[in-house]
């Protein structure tokens, strides 16, 4: 019964938190720039507005263009449910479904279709965005696998549920959490890798890919990317929280609240970073992501030395 209640809270949270998080990020960014900024609830209004609008679809587009957003949002929603906000939250029978490799490959499924949809309209911007997205994910994936793999070594299992149910080595947790945060900046098309708010399509990655979308489909995409923000920041927050020994002893609801606070805090941190940093030249993105890779490798080294 208690479990069911928590699950319901969690599902409602998954509907609300992603858009709220986007609102918080925008608000903090506006404050950083000495603007008042839009209300925190603005993303909700935007989404409601976009769902009421008709969409325009390119004549060149095929079913790939039509179905990619739906596949993307469905995958993100399933992954958001599976990625545990806390080890105790999901029923333990779900553990195999929270395998981190499954999660990463499911996200790759949505990425695959997003990239195809970008090329589908025959627009050069879409191709450019897809090509860059492919490059970024090639730079990011190894770090993610090595980092979470290092974390999993402590738990003896590749299921996220098991990983986050137990205590982690604080060094490994901090290093992996930091690496996850850096890779999240790239995966979520945030500064300094990508700037979602420029005026020039040529400089963007994610926005260039979804340039052709409008109306309902755009709303679906926006929600999916808000969900992905939640997933990645949630992973990073959970990992960082595991460096804090007392976290495990909190009662479940306060742990959940701390987890959400962590996600919002990381979101604000991302916004602060966006206010301070400038966008990197495309060619220096690999150097930036190399930091994440090095942290992942260090974590792997520590984790490996500590087994047994």
């Amino acid at each position: 019964m208690r479990m069911l209640l928590i699950m319901i809270i969690h599902l409602i949270n998954l509907l609300v938190l992603p858009l709220f998080l986007v609102g918080v990020i925008r608000k903090v960014k506006a404050l950083m720039q000495n603007r008042i900024g839009a209300p925190i609830l603005q993303p909700f209004y935007d989404l409601a507005k976009m769902f009421r609008k008709a969409e325009t679809v390119s004549k060149t587009a095929s079913w790939v263009f039509l179905w990619a957003p739906r596949i993307g949002v469905a995958v993100s929603a399933v992954v958001a449910v599976l990625v545990p906000w806390d080890g105790a939250l999901l029923p333990s029978g779900w553990a195999p479904a929270t395998n981190f490799l499954l999660v990463l490959y499911l996200l790759a499924l949505s990425k695959f279709f997003t990239m195809l949809a970008a090329i589908d309209t025959g627009s050069a911007f879409g191709g450019l965005g897809a090509s860059r997205e492919a490059t970024i994910s090639m730079l990011v994936e190894p770090t993610l696998v090595i980092g979470i793999g290092a974390l999993a070594l402590g738990a003896g299992n590749t299921n996220l549920l098991t990983i986050y149910a137990g205590q982690a080595n604080p060094f490994v947790a901090i290093l992996v959490g930091a690496a996850l945060l850096l890779t999240a900046l790239a995966e979520l098309s945030r500064m300094p890798v990508d700037d979602p708010t420029t005026h020039l399509e040529l400089t963007m990655v994610h926005e260039a890919m979804i340039l052709e979308y409008s109306g309902r489909s755009l709303a679906v995409i926006e929600y999916a990317s808000a969900l992905r923000t939640c997933i990645f920041l949630g992973l990073a927050a959970q990992t960082l929280l595991h460096a804090w020994p007392a976290y495990q002893d909190l009662p479940i609801l306060s742990r959940y609240a701390v987890g959400i606070a962590g996600v919002v805090a990381l979101g604000s941190a991302v916004a602060v970073a966006e206010g301070v940093l400038v966008k990197l030249r495309w060619r220096s993105v690999p150097n930036f992501l190399a930091f994440a890779a090095v942290m992942g490798l260090l974590a792997a080294l520590i984790a490996v030395a500590q087994v047994r």
């Binding site: 191709g127 679906v220 490996v304």
Partner: protein, 662 residues
């Protein structure tokens, strides 16, 4: 062995399949103009018999009766869970390929003798079954050579084109080199053990090393592993599409089969060096294959390089299996083996699907250059759909079939990171997981490029614009394979049992039952349900406000046409620039015109990429071999009949002396 056992069970089913194909070979050689059902039907029936042998047959060892002997060595066959696994793969891929061929070969009818292709195809199938069933060196070598020659004949089928002749001779050279190594290895092993039967070999320690390495090089050449892969991206694209599908999907796997049979199962060659060698070469092949696949401009060459990648992944699994064996970690041995075998089956399915798709595109547009394709999803919707499924499967995306195999490999490496003896070994396990992830991301880039440039966007040439959907047989073949990719992905637990039986051949009882835990079918159901609900809801919204169709955003310049689309080479450029150390990569842009800055008249862009391995290692090596040949061999073969007569007399004398002295 009683008469009943000799011809009962799977042996007889295989026999029926072989004789059906033999009939196809003979009719093919006699009726060279025919194509279609006359050949397709018996080929499919043969495959069906083979499949039933694989699924329901019993395990047995069979020795053919007396007249079929060479010296004192007879033909000897073995049917065990391992050979049945590969028999299943041959039968499974054979059926769609036979369905596809009549429609495809039709467009080659003026250049190629169709009956000849069918005869070659059937002979190739026969020889592959022979390799998989072989229990001793004689049977194996005969089947292996028939396989090499029949596939050579198929590659050179379209022999009026100079390129294809060149490719075929490179292929022939590669098979000869491989066979030379194999022969040396086998003779060495025979010398040490006194037996020609594989199962009677039991070498260990330093004695095992040299024959094992020789045999390995021979097999790796056939499998297309780095650095012996050079022939593969040249030969596979040159063959007609169904043949490429069989060669990439099945034929190169026979070498994998022999690696499993000789190195992984049983204790035929116990040498700790093999595991790391397979693992490292596999890791390099996988990376090398995918990075070069990404660079290719030719659809079939792209697919061929991707085969190098997948063979690399399979070899990584085998290497891990051997590593587990030498460190005494049975779960690693079994996971590695299971991952390798599962990936072998998966790769057979999606790679033949993709080659057939490329063949359908080739048959309808006569274009293989990526930069001249595009927009085919509107003109060939079924082919495009099947190709998308195959691409998603080869990217190992769940819930398709590629995922289970790669997931097992990940689990194996994770096991290595957990149970390895030294810190280095454990770190190696984690790093290999990262390496696999890197390769996975590159594969996604590669196949997004392939699908995107071939099927999506606007057609880049008239040929692509005029394309129409492939014929029914061609479509049926692709759809069957696509459905198999989906079905095998969702029903992954079904294959764990046969894999467990093979894993039990390693010596310890199967540990695989509890390894595959992911509820993939449920997950697929939930995904499809979510997408369905969403689609229904969006359709409701669309009822009041239907979507408008309009041109793609062109910044207000007016319709820009297909030339402004992103090209295959520009898509690959960011990644290919990053790995410039292993090849020379150059883009040459030539702009001509009186005022070339403002009014260019011709703009030509040329891309060039050459692997340092080819230009700096193989090319000088081949050149020096040629020089040696022209110095020494020219004297031996001077064109003088007197000299040749002396050779013959000398050889005859030596043979008689050998016979008498024995």
């Amino acid at each position: 062995m009683s008469e009943f056992e000799l011809w009962g069970g799977s042996g007889s089913l295989c026999g029926v399949a072989l004789f059906t194909w033999l009939a196809v070979v003979l009719t093919g050689l006699l009726k060279r103009k025919h194509s279609g059902l006359l050949f397709a039907l018996p080929t499919i029936i043969g495959c069906a018999f083979l499949l039933s042998a694989a699924l329901f047959g019993k395990n047995s060892t069979q020795i053919l009766p007396f007249p079929l002997f060479l010296g004192d060595v007879g033909f000897r066959f073995v049917i065990d869970p391992l050979s049945r696994w590969f028999l299943g793969i041959i039968g499974l891929i054979g059926i769609p390929v036979a369905l596809f061929s009549p429609g495809y070969l039709h467009h080659l009818r003026h250049r190629v003798s169709l009956g000849f292709v069918w005869a070659g195809l059937a002979l190739l199938m026969i020889s592959m079954v022979g390799v998989v069933l072989a229990a001793n060196v004689l049977t194996f070598m005969v089947a292996w050579e028939v396989m090499a020659l029949s596939s050579f004949a198929l590659v050179i089928a379209d022999h009026e084109q100079r390129d294809i002749r060149r490719s075929a001779f490179i292929y022939l050279g590669a098979t000869r080199t491989g066979t030379a190594f194999l022969m040396l290895g086998f003779i060495w092993a025979h010398h040490l053990t006194g037996s020609w039967v594989f199962s009677e070999w039991g070498l260990s320690g330093t004695a095992a090393l040299v024959p094992a390495l020789l045999i390995f090089v021979g097999l790796a050449t056939k499998a297309g592993s780095w650095p012996f892969h050079l022939w593969l991206p040249i030969a596979h694209p040159a063959a007609p599409a169904p043949v490429s599908a069989i060669m990439s999907g099945v034929m190169i796997k026979t070498a994998i089969y022999m690696m499993v049979r000789l190195f992984v199962l049983g204790n035929h060659f116990e040498t700790p060096a093999l595991g790391p060698i397979l693992l490292i070469l596999g890791a390099i092949s996988a990376f090398w294959g995918v990075i070069f696949a990404l660079l290719q401009q030719d659809l079939k060459r792209l697919l061929a390089y991707s085969s190098v990648e997948n063979v690399g992944i399979i070899m990584m699994g085998l290497g891990m299996s051997l590593l587990g064996k030498s460190y005494g970690i049975p779960i690693l041995t079994q996971l590695g083996l299971a991952a390798a075998l599962l990936h072998t089956l998966n790769h057979a399915l999606f790679k033949s699907l993709l080659f057939l798709g490329a063949g359908a595109v080739d048959a309808r547009t006569h274009v293989r250059d990526l930069e001249r394709l595009g927009g085919l999803i509107h003109r060939m919707p079924w082919t495009a759909g099947a190709f998308v499924v195959g691409s998603a499967a080869i990217c190992a995306l769940p819930p398709l079939n590629g995922f289970a195999g790669e997931w097992m490999l990940y689990q194996g490496f994770f096991g290595l990171a957990q149970n390895g003896e030294s810190v280095g070994l454990r770190l190696g396990g984690l790093l290999l997981m990262g390496w696999l992830a890197l390769i996975g991301a590159l594969v996604i880039a590669c196949f997004v490029k392939a699908v995107g440039v071939v099927f999506l966007g606007n057609p880049r040439s008239q040929e692509a614009e005029r394309a129409r959907e492939a014929g029914k047989g061609m479509l049926a073949a692709q759809v069957i394979l696509a459905l198999l990719c989906i079905g095998l992905g969702i029903a992954a637990p079904l294959v764990i049992n046969p894999l467990g039986r093979i894993a039990a051949q390693t010596g310890s009882p199967s540990l695989l039952q509890n390894t595959w835990t992911i509820p993939i079918a449920l997950l697929a159901l939930i995904l499809v349900g979510t997408i369905g609900v969403l689609a229904v809801w969006l359709r409701e919204l669309a009822r009041s406000l239907p979507a408008k169709r309009f041109i793609t955003w062109e910044c207000g310049f007016g319709d820009l046409g297909p030339r402004t689309q992103y090209t295959a080479s520009s898509f690959a450029q960011p990644i290919s620039r990053l790995f410039g150390a292993i090849y020379s990569y150059a883009v040459e842009i030539n702009i001509k015109g009186r005022n070339r800055r403002h009014f260019p008249e011709t703009v030509a862009v040329e891309m060039m990429h050459e692997a340092h391995l080819e230009t700096k290692v193989y090319a000088p090596l081949l050149k020096s071999i040629q020089r040696m040949a022209s110095v020494f061999l020219m004297r031996l073969q001077a064109g003088s009949i007197h000299q040749y007569l002396i050779y013959m007399a000398v050889v005859l004398g030596v043979l008689i002396w050998l016979g008498v002295s024995r």
